[in-house]
């Protein structure tokens, strides 16, 4: 529902995400703040933002695949791994610039995702969700068992830093700008995709794939596409990860990581790009708070003992996530939308 006084005057303006001048201002301000962040806040915060942005790219991809197209995907970390490995191999063996390795990482992950997406034409629902777990195990197995000259085997791969015109992207500030640029492009692109005919086809397939087919949508191709796009995002995120950590190993991309990505989009809200971002923010922030507050609590309440405090922190993390899902099973965005519409018709209750 639009705020009163705002009427779309053309179909294009009706499509806009940002509808009021205040929203424009808020967005500009937000972006400016982000861009200036390295000059405003400490390195630790920037490092957290780096992690958040990388997770955001991956979670947004998952949101397209799972939230929009309804294909539950528990292999997102594997797809991320494929991207990270691709970028690492290309960067370390061929010295290709990151301007190319990042999209190529996305493409190779997309290919891997597409293969799994093809099975979605036949396999549905939970069966599909669980076959994506297979992606996870197969990726792990492949990395460790292919000749170690290919993917480094158990050794992992060391990644040279990203470089552009002699500028090395090392240190959190430089990496921040690189991550920011990529994330901004990817998130903007995601908005484009979900509001295009593809986004609508995804939703159609999610809601009723029989009807979607009869509407002239190629259901199998659409599902495979959803995986492809989701995996592309994961691959790009993986490449950013590779450039951030500069060492990739197979244990950085586990099923547990995939589960956390799923948790992120649930907490934020299924079927909303903003929801994915909110979810990433919330879960990462909880993790960081735990990592930051934990030692301090352990120090100040020493009678509890460090182990109890830290174990307790994990419970808090799990508990908060579970609580979110219980109290707000449709995600925070859903609550937000309800709040928004009741605010707009205030003071009338309905």
């Amino acid at each position: 529902m639009d705020p009163s006084g705002i009427f779309p005057t053309s179909y294009r303006s009706d499509r806009r995400i940002i509808r009021t001048r205040w929203q424009v201002l808020a967005l500009v301000l937000f972006m400016a703040l982000l861009l200036l962040a390295p000059y405003l806040v400490s390195g630790r915060i920037i490092a957290i933002l780096n992690m958040m942005m990388i997770s955001a790219v991956i979670a947004v991809g998952l949101q397209i695949c799972t939230g929009y197209a309804g294909q539950i995907n528990l292999g997102q970390a594997a797809f991320m791994g494929v991207g990270a490995y691709t970028a690492s191999i290309l960067a370390s063996k061929t010295g290709l610039t990151f301007l190319l390795t990042i999209p190529l990482a996305g493409l190779s992950a997309a290919l891997f995702g597409f293969l799994f997406g093809l099975t979605a034409a036949r396999i549905k629902g939970f069966y599909l969700a669980l076959t994506t777990i297979a992606a996870q195990f197969l990726f792990h197995f492949a990395v460790l068992n292919l000749p170690s000259t290919w993917m480094g085997g158990s050794n992992g791969i060391t990644v040279p830093p990203a470089e552009l015109f002699g500028l090395r992207f090392v240190g959190e500030t430089a990496q921040f700008y690189m991550n920011f640029a990529v994330t901004a492009i990817m998130v903007a692109g995601a908005f484009g995709i979900v509001r295009s005919r593809f986004g609508r086809a995804f939703v159609a397939v999610r809601d009723d794939d029989v009807a979607a087919g009869i509407m002239g949508i190629n259901v199998a191709a659409t599902k495979a596409n959803a995986f492809l796009i989701g995996a592309f995002y994961a691959g790009v995120g993986g490449a950013l990860w590779a450039y951030l950590i500069r060492f990739v190993g197979v244990d950085q991309f586990t099923l547990f990581h995939s589960i956390f990505f799923v948790a992120m989009i649930i907490v934020g809200g299924m079927g909303s790009i903003v929801g994915a971002l909110v979810g990433v923010f919330i879960i990462r922030i909880i993790q960081e708070i735990i990592a930051t507050v934990g030692p301090n609590i352990a120090d100040s309440v020493s009678f509890l003992g460090g182990d109890i405090v830290f174990a307790g922190m994990n419970v808090v993390l799990g508990g908060v996530i579970a609580l979110f899902m219980i109290l707000e099973p449709k995600g925070l965005m859903h609550r937000w939308n309800i709040m928004k519409s009741s605010y707009r018709i205030w003071p009338f209750p309905y």
């Binding site: 809601d207 009869i214 509407m215 002239g216 190629n218």
Partner: protein
């Protein structure tokens, strides 16, 4: 009727379709064909095979025997979406709308197959995509105007009553700009006022688009008034075919269906 190398071919023809599910014979050697700009009604008792016939036509079921032709082209065995792209649209018995989406979005989904932009254009949202979106949005709004559902344009269809959903369902089918329209019990769940409205829409569609319509319906008043020709199915077979007047008098039909 289109003339195709001298042979006259109808927009839609089913020839000798037989469809079995295990021991159940849903269709038994059924043949129908429709003429240009004709409204063909299919009636018959519950479980007679009417929906199955539409499903075979739309490619949702593949008949064990027989063929389906669209404008003389054999489309048997094509996927549903391929058949849809050849101009066949349908509405559903019950509704199969995308419940979480608004009315506009549902209708825009109907236009998916008419749109051409690719993923990369969508990702970068440049020129052609935006233009295409606006064009199709305009077409969608025309349909909304036509069906008089402006007021609920932005409501999620899941929150609409049954009757409005049926109207949206029709809108979505029209959005495909079909060259033939199949409708499965569009009037079910409406009171006579609403039936009148929908009847009017169907008549208007025929007038404006000049497309043949296949109508499955149990409301005899509607069928007799609207249909140019009626086919009666019983136990998967065609037991009668003719004008409404003929059918109303047909003893076999009276026995099996009208009572």
């Amino acid at each position: 009727m289109t003339t195709n190398g001298g042979i006259v071919s109808s927009p839609l023809a089913v020839r000798g379709a037989t469809l079995k599910f295990g021991g159940v014979t849903a269709l038994d050697d059924v043949s129908i064909s429709i003429n240009d700009d004709e409204l063909l009604a299919i009636i018959g008792p519950n479980g007679a095979g009417k929906t199955s016939l539409l499903n075979v036509t739309a490619g949702f079921y593949r008949p064990q025997k027989g063929r389906v032709e669209l404008s003389g082209q054999d489309v048997t065995g094509l996927r549903v979406d391929q058949i849809a792209r050849r101009g066949l649209a349908r509405t559903f018995q019950g509704t199969h709308l995308f419940a979480g989406q608004t009315v506009v979005e549902n209708i825009m989904i109907g236009r998916h197959m008419l749109m051409k932009s690719n993923v990369i254009q969508a990702f970068f949202q440049f020129g052609p995509v935006m233009r295409e979106e606006s064009e199709h949005r305009e077409a969608a709004e025309e349909i909304i105007d036509f069906l008089e559902i402006e007021a609920i344009r932005n409501r999620p269809v899941g929150t609409l009553g049954y009757g409005l959903r049926k109207r949206v369902d029709l809108g979505r089918a029209l959005a495909q700009e079909p060259s033939i329209l199949l409708m499965d019990e569009p009037m079910a769940g409406m009171n006579s006022e609403e039936k009148e409205d929908l009847a009017r829409f169907i008549l208007d569609v025929r007038e404006a688009r000049k497309i043949p319509v296949v109508l499955v319906e149990h409301d005899m008043g509607v069928v007799m008034d609207l249909a140019d020709r009626i086919v009666v199915l019983d136990f998967g077979r065609v037991i009668a075919e003719g004008t409404p007047e003929e059918i109303q008098k047909d003893p076999a039909v009276i026995k099996a269906y009208l009572g």
